[in-house]
Each structure stands twice: as structure tokens, then as C-alpha cells.
């Protein structure tokens, strides 16, 4: 039996205009239902295919209770600093992964084990602006191992492990400011790149210079960070020094453009004030084509300069359940103007934003934010232009190709303000248009527009599963809109950003559903669920727990005092802590609760909270040990309890910590299920 579900019908009529819209919606719904009826009654065959397909929209996003979605959809959190995970096509939110911002719910940045993950050369940074994601690839195809995330504000790249859906590593990027052009990866995840949005004086030069010395003192950099194939370990392999300008987005070459990386740039005017006007003067800015294989050769030959810098490299060790932060002090830099054949500039109309490479690797699509056309460049022509040296001068010592010599063709009058393009693997490209608020489907070969659909409202990025790889999965398209307005019930001045899911399996794109998102989504990536599900970790093995303060079984629970530091080795099991009565803590003590969850069952985390703690709770996964630091400020009695409903006796999962004055002679004691000797003697009296 076919069922029709509708989420957008609103019985309230708020204004004549809304009323009219509702009337239209009611009519539309009747059409939908009619179509469904026609399908459900075998005698009544659909006569109008359009109606039948429209009626399909609700069932296309309906995933039955207990059934899984077809795809994981990882969505950047923008100013939330986190990454959210949706199921597609249902658009159900599955998880929010804490990455660059603290998350008291999960104890991220609050537990002793996770604090080092947010360490930087500026100290602990509790927030960032997370824009782009890229899934790890093997042979140009997503492989389901990791997803990389950039931090825009304090330049960093994170690697999230898709076995645990946790942030496993964060590396800071020196010589950078506004890590926007990041974290895009090469075909086999050899490198993840980081291009600076803001040019700045280099870290080893004084930044204490007049701002209007931009042209002289400010430089751009692009970092190539190698990714170890076996464990994903990130290392800054080399940095390219470039003229001061703004690097915006990037994408790796593949196939014929293998070994190349493309970066969009703006502000070739080198403005440092009122960029809105001053960086929009030139008719064309550039797409920078980087031959990273060539750069790699120079570095291997010992070329480049070792520069003294300072940047943090933070890693989470799954066996100790603990992160460590190391401060590194050196990078290798190559000043591109001194090393021929690394980089070339391709003129691109009007402040290009997205630079996207089609699945064949032959076509490179530039999208000028202020342009009314889309230029498509051809790798074969770029290579020929380089070989023939058909240059049009140079920019900052980098050869500039002639626009026409690199150009395959232009999509004429596609819309206003093209931003980003992805591909379906069937020869079609899909581009978002911010100003005209639409998605336009066009053919890569003949550059003709095939279809256009409005979005609500003003899309930034779009994402097609595998849409930036050699093998797009296609089928769906997600548009991430910058403006929500009237799409959902109003929630005061601040609204959730809207995303829209389209079906792109046919000639025309079909809107399936609108859904609200976390933070401000920019780029997103999706992957078929089966590539990830098979590796998903359910519990951490207790036997493999190498945390220095693990409690291996309840028998080993204890309290150790080291000066004013009190280490509580405490276990959690449905439905009690061991120990659950603690005495002998004194004012001036620093108490560390090292909580080991002894459960070995999937989805039985325990929480841990104590009254007055000025940090957060802990959420401890089965088999894991996590530490909460607590410095009591007042004498008194402090309950502890489990915050994650774990069993019928969850409310009983609690205990007390007694805090005595400084210098008190109450000795450390702890117990479970019995009174302490002091308590017993009190009862006997």
C-alpha cells in the first residue's frame, strides 16, 4: 500500500498571501493524494506521469521505522564548529560530531582526555567556523575511512574516523589566516590541502607592520598535508608561498588532471580595505593550477627553506582513550616564484568562488560570484598552453595563461552569481546560483542548460553523493541555502538554515523535502551507507583499554591521594558506580574522577555529573575511561549521578562525595553497598 506523507501543509492561515499559498498547497496535496490513489488502485493507471512522480516525493524520503537510510550525509556546521550527520533520503539527523567547538553534552573539550584536541599555538581555542568536508578517497572514489574538516578562523584541519564518528586528529596550519580553501584531498588521499583565505605576513616575519604595506609584506600560502595511508596521520609536507591575495576554494585534479590541484582566488587587486569594492575591480581574477607532483619533486630533492614556526598537532589515541597535543616548530616552504613549473594562473571572470573538476578530470569549472556566465576550462588545453608557453605575462612571478587558450567554452546566461558545481557522472553538471536562487543543470559537453529549479532561498554549496569524485553516486542533490525566511515555523529572529533534497535521477530535478540544519552548512559530502556501516565500532574492548587510570573491574576501584590531587578510580555498570560513597576530600583538593564504563554492550553509555562542577558532564562509552576534573569550592555534600538513562534503576545510579574543610582529619575512604566504619560506629551509638 502506498502512503503519502506531507510535512509542509499548514492549517493556519496567517495572511491573505499565506492563505493563497495554502490554497495552492491544498490543491497540490489533493493532486498528490489522487496520484497515490491512482497508483494504489490497480484498475486506475496513472494517466499523467508528472502527477505520479510528484506524488512519489513523499514516499521517496520516507524510510520505514526500523529501516536504514541509503546514504550518510556529512554536513559542515559553519559557525557551530561541528559536523552533523544526516540519513538520506529521510533527512533524519543521526549525530552531531564535535570537532572544533567544545560540546558539554559529550564532554568534548571538558574531559581531561579531550582537552588537548583543541589546543593550538594560541592556547586552547573552544570554537571555530567549520566550512568544508572531504571524504577520503582511493582511486578517485570515496572509501569510507575518514572525513576531513577545515577550521576557518584559527587555521586547522581535522580528521574524523568513520569507524567511531569521532575526531581523531587535528593539525594547525602555520603561515595561514582563514583556512577557507580547505580540506580538499587528492585522488588517493595522498594530501589534504589548506589554502589561506587572508594573506598575512609570514609567521617568522614580524606581523607588526602597517596594514597598507599589504603588497610588500603580505603573502598567501597553500599547505600540502600528507596523510599516512595506514592510519591517516597528518603531517605538513610542504607549504607554497604565493603572492598576497585571497584563496577561496579548491579541488583536486583526476585522470588527465591527476597530479594537479586547482585553487580559486580573488582580490588579485591586493586590496586590504573595503574589499567589497576594491577587490571587485578586475574583470578577471585567477584560478591557480598547482602541479603538486612537481612541488613534491623539489621537496624530495631537498629544495625549499626550513622555516621556524609554531603549530599544534593533536591526536586521540583510541587505546588510551586520551588525546595528546604536540607543538611542532618547523615547516618546509617553497616560494613559487623561485621554482618554475609548479604553478600557473588561469584568468577567470569576476571573483571566482567554486572551482570544480568533473568526474573525467578533463573539465574544470570556475564560478565567478559576480559573473553571469560559467567558464569551463579543459585540461588538455591547459597542458598545451603550458607546453606552448602561450602566456599572457605573469602575476607575482607566476605565468598567466591566456584565457582563451585554457577555455573549453562558456555556459551562456545560466543565471546570476554562480557559486558551486557538482556532477552526476552522466555528463551533467549542477551549479548553484546565489543571486537568482536556483540550481541549474547543464551538459558539460555542449554547455547547454537542461533544467533549472528554484531553491528557498539563495543556495551556497550543493552536494551530490560522490559528486566531486571520479565515480559519482548521483541520484540525489542537496542544496544548502543561506536564507530560510518563511520555510519553517518561525522561531523568533534566528532561524535554522534550510537544506533541500532533490531527486536528480531523471531529466528534471525534483524537490523532495526541506529540512533544518545545525549551524550554517557550507559544503557537505555523502557516501553509500554500506561503505561505512561495516566498519562501525559498537564498543571499546575493556581488555584493550590502556588508559593510565583505567579500573579493570569493580574489585580494582580505589582512591589514591597524591598531595592535593585525589584520583578516584571509579567504575560504572548498570545501575551503580563503584565506589559510590567517598569521604576524605578536602577544600583545596583537585579531584579527578576517572570513570571506566564496564559495559560491553552496544549503546550503553553512562554519564557522570557532580554538583557544582564548573566544566561539564562526562559521557563514557562502553569499555572507555574518561576523566572529569573537579575542584570543590565549598564544604558540603555533593551528589554524583549517571546522566544517561541506562536502566530501570538509572535513578538509583548515584552516590555522594563528602567535602571537608582544609586540614580536616577525615581520612580518604570509599565504599559501595556498605557503610564506612565511621558510619557503622555512628549507627551503633
Amino acid at each position: 500500500m502506498m502512503r503519502v506523507f506531507h510535512r509542509t501543509d499548514n492549517p493556519l492561515s496567517l495572511s491573505p498571501k499565506v492563505n493563497l499559498i495554502n490554497m495552492k498547497r491544498v490543491l497540490f496535496l489533493i493532486m498528490l493524494l489522487s496520484a497515490a490513489v491512482m497508483l494504489s488502485i490497480s484498475a486506475c493507471k496513472p494517466k499523467n506521469a508528472g502527477d505520479a512522480v510528484s506524488g512519489d516525493a513523499a514516499s521517496r524520503v520516507y524510510v520505514q521505522p526500523g529501516k536504514y537510510d541509503e546514504l550518510y550525509n556529512f554536513v559542515s556546521g559553519g559557525f557551530s564548529g561541528q559536523v552533523s550527520v544526516y540519513g538520506i533520503p529521510s533527512a533524519r539527523l543521526l549525530r552531531v560530531i564535535p570537532v572544533f567547538s567544545v560540546d558539554p553534552e559529550k564532554g568534548w573539550g571538558y574531559s581531561e582526555e579531550t582537552k588537548p584536541m583543541l589546543n593550538t599555538s594560541h592556547g586552547m581555542v573552544p570554537w571555530d567556523d567549520q566550512h568544508h568536508l572531504d571524504l577520503s578517497q582511493t582511486k578517485g572514489e570515496t572509501d569510507g575511512r575518514w572525513i576531513f574538516a577545515n577550521a576557518n578562523n584559527t587555521p586547522r584541519i581535522a580528521r574524523i574516523d568513520l569507524r567511531t564518528f569521532r575526531t581523531a586528529e587535528i593539525i594547525e596550519i602555520p603561515n595561514s589566516a582563514g583556512n577557507h580553501s580547505s580540506p580538499f584531498i587528492t585522488e588517493n588521499t595522498e594530501y589534504v590541502v589548506a589554502g589561506t583565505r587572508f594573506s598575512v605576513p609570514m609567521d617568522d616575519a614580524s606581523g607588526d607592520v602597517a596594514i597598507d604595506t599589504y603588497k610588500k609584506n603580505f603573502k598567501g600560502t597553500i599547505s600540502f598535508i600528507s596523510v599516512a595511508p595506514e592510519d591517516g596521520n597528518m603531517k605538513i609536507a610542504f607549504q607554497l608561498i604565493l603572492p598576497g591575495m585571497n584563496f577561496d576554494l579548491s579541488h583536486s585534479g583526476k585522470g588527465p588532471s591527476s597530479g594537479w590541484f586547482f585553487f580559486s582566488t580573488y582580490n588579485s587587486e591586493q586590496a586590504h580595505t573595503l574589499l567589497e569594492v576594491n577587490a571587485s575591480k578586475n574583470d578577471k581574477d585567477y584560478i591557480l593550477a598547482v602541479n603538486w607532483k612537481k612541488a613534491e619533486e623539489y621537496v624530495k630533492a631537498g629544495k625549499g627553506r626550513k622555516q621556524t614556526v609554531k603549530y599544534a598537532h593533536n591526536k586521540f589515541d583510541e587505546s588510551t582513550h586520551t588525546a595528546t597535543s604536540k607543538m611542532l616548530t618547523e615547516v618546509t616552504v617553497l616560494d613559487v616564484k623561485d621554482f618554475p613549473e609548479i604553478a600557473y594562473m588561469i584568468p577567470c571572470p569576476k571573483s571566482p568562488h567554486g572551482v570544480d573538476v568533473d568526474p573525467t578530470g578533463e573539465y574544470i569549472v570556475g564560478s565567478g560570484k559576480l559573473a553571469a556566465l560559467i567558464p569551463v576550462f579543459a585540461m588538455s588545453k591547459i597542458k598545451k598552453a603550458i607546453a606552448d608557453k602561450t602566456f599572457d605575462g605573469s602575476y607575482g612571478g607566476i605565468p598567466v595563461l591566456k584565457y582563451e587558450s585554457a577555455l573549453y567554452g562558456e555556459v551562456k546566461k545560466p543565471g546570476l552569481g554562480p557559486l558551486h558545481t557538482e556532477f552526476d557522472g552522466k555528463g551533467n553538471a549542477y551549479t548553484t546560483f546565489f543571486i537568482s536562487s536556483e540550481i541549474v543543470k547543464w551538459n558539460i559537453k555542449d554547455l547547454k542548460v537542461i533544467d533549472r529549479q528554484p531553491t528557498y532561498y539563495s543556495p551556497g554549496h550543493l552536494s551530490i553523493p560522490g559528486g566531486d569524485t571520479m565515480k559519482p553516486y548521483g541520484k540525489y542533490l542537496m542544496a544548502y541555502n543561506k536564507i530560510t525566511k518563511d520555510r519553517f515555523l518561525p522561531t523568533g529572529p534566528e532561524l535554522a538554515q534550510s537544506a533541500q533534497l532533490f531527486d536528480i535521477s531523471g531529466e528534471k530535478m525534483k524537490l523532495l523535502i526541506d529540512y533544518p540544519t545545525i549551524g550554517e552548512p557550507h559544503y557537505a559530502q555523502s557516501i553509500p551507507a554500506d561503505k561505512v556501516v561495516k566498519n562501525s565500532v559498537k564498543t571499546f574492548k575493556l581488555e584493550e583499554n590502556k588508559h593510565p587510570y583505567v579500573t579493570m573491574g569493580e574489585k580494582n576501584s580505589k582512591i589514591v591521594r597524591e598531595g592535593n590531587k585525589v584520583h578516584v578510580y571509579i567504575t560504572a555498570m548498570r545501575s551503580h558506580f563503584s565506589p559510590d560513597n567517598i569521604e576524605g576530600v578536602k577544600l583545596g583538593d583537585e579531584v579527578y574522577f576517572h570513570v571506566t564504563n564496564l559495559e560491553q554492550d552496544w549503546d550503553v553509555p553512562h554519564g557522570f555529573a557532580i554538583k557544582g562542577a564548573i566544566n561539564a558532564e562526562l559521557l563514557i562509552m562502553p569499555g572507555e575511561t574518561t576523566t572529569l576534573k573537579w575542584v570543590p569550592q565549598k564544604v558540603g555534600m555533593y551528589p554524583i549521578y549517571c546522566t544517561d538513562f541506562c536502566s530501570a534503576l538509572h535513578q538509583e545510579m548515584s552516590g555522594y562525595v563528602r567535602v571537608s574543610p582544609k586540614g580536616s582529619n577525615v581520612a580518604i575512604s570509599f565504599s559501595l553497598g556498605k557503610n564506612s566504619p565511621a558510619g557503622d560506629s555512628l549507627l551503633k551509638r
Binding site: I41, P65, Q600
Partner: protein, 158 residues
């Protein structure tokens, strides 16, 4: 006209639907029903339980080495909830457990916990007393066998 026809069909559709009760429920009912039927299947052996252990070889004398290994596993994963006496903590005390249940039943319950709780009358009766579902502590087959040997030791087997 076409619209009218379809609208009348819609009325029929809605009327039929109203009779069949909750919409989403009907999709899952069939699955749930068939499971219940399986649960009541007389082929279920309440002495052995359900799981991979169908015939556990137990020697008359204790294997002290196995019991020692079993004790280590139990201390890490079991004794938060089970005492070695007949006193109930979270779960029942282990004293006498090897005389109450067949080794297959005990080891299936250790390793196939959720299924047993859902199906086995004895496990369900214990749940009504303890009110906490025993977690599956992910014991390996060897772990389960060693813990069983440790239970025998607790029950006085030499």
C-alpha cells in the same frame, strides 16, 4: 472530470484507511507477529536456550586453569552485578547456578543475551525479579566456557 473521479476514489481510500487503524503500525505488524510465532515455537529447547552452544563437554573434575582464566574475565565484566553467594546484587548471586541450569543454557545466556531475554521463560522470570536486562558483555566462546568453569569452582567442584 478526471479530478472528480480521483477525488471520489480518494474518499474511498481514506474511508478504507480509517477502518484499518494506525497507518504506520500496519507496516510493522506482520514482522512482529511472525517473530512472536517463532518465539512460541515448540522446537525451542528451554533447557539449552538459544545460541551457538548445543553440546558443552564438561569433565567431572575442575579444570583449574580454565577456572582461573574465567575468574579474571568475571572480575572485569561480571562481578559488578553478581556476587559469589546466593545474595542478589543487580543480578542473582552465582552460588548454585551450575546446578540450576545446563552449561549450554548458561553459556548461551552469556553470549546471546538479548535473544534469550526475549524468548526464554527462565530468563524472563529472572528479569521480573531483577528488573535490569543483563547486558551482553561480548564474551568470546572461550571466555564463556572459562567463566562457566569458574562458576563450577564457586559451586564447589574440585
Amino acid at each position: 472530470m478526471k479530478k472528480l473521479l480521483c477525488l471520489s476514489a480518494l474518499v474511498l481510500f481514506v474511508a478504507a484507511c480509517a477502518g484499518s487503524g494506525d497507518g504506520t503500525g500496519s507496516d510493522t505488524t506482520s514482522a512482529a507477529t511472525s517473530e512472536t510465532t517463532e518465539g512460541g515455537n515448540p522446537s525451542y529447547d528451554p533447557n539449552r536456550g538459544e545460541g551457538k552452544f548445543t553440546n558443552v563437554e564438561v569433565k567431572p573434575n575442575l579444570d583449574a586453569g580454565m577456572a582461573e582464566k574465567g575468574e579474571k574475565v568475571a572480575d572485569l565484566k561480571c562481578t559488578s552485578c553478581h556476587k559469589m553467594t546466593d545474595e542478589r546484587l543487580v543480578g542473582p548471586g552465582w552460588a548454585g547456578v551450575t546446578t540450576r541450569h545446563a552449561p549450554e543454557w548458561i553459556m548461551n545466556f552469556m553470549t546471546n543475551t538479548d535473544v534469550m531475554i526475549d524468548k526464554d521463560p527462565k530468563a524472563q522470570a529472572m528479569l521480573e525479579i531483577c528488573m535490569v536486562r543483563m547486558p551482553n558483555q561480548n564474551l568470546s566462546d572461550d571466555d564463556a566456557r572459562n567463566v562457566y568453569e569458574y562458576m563450577r569452582k564457586v559451586d564447589g567442584v574440585k
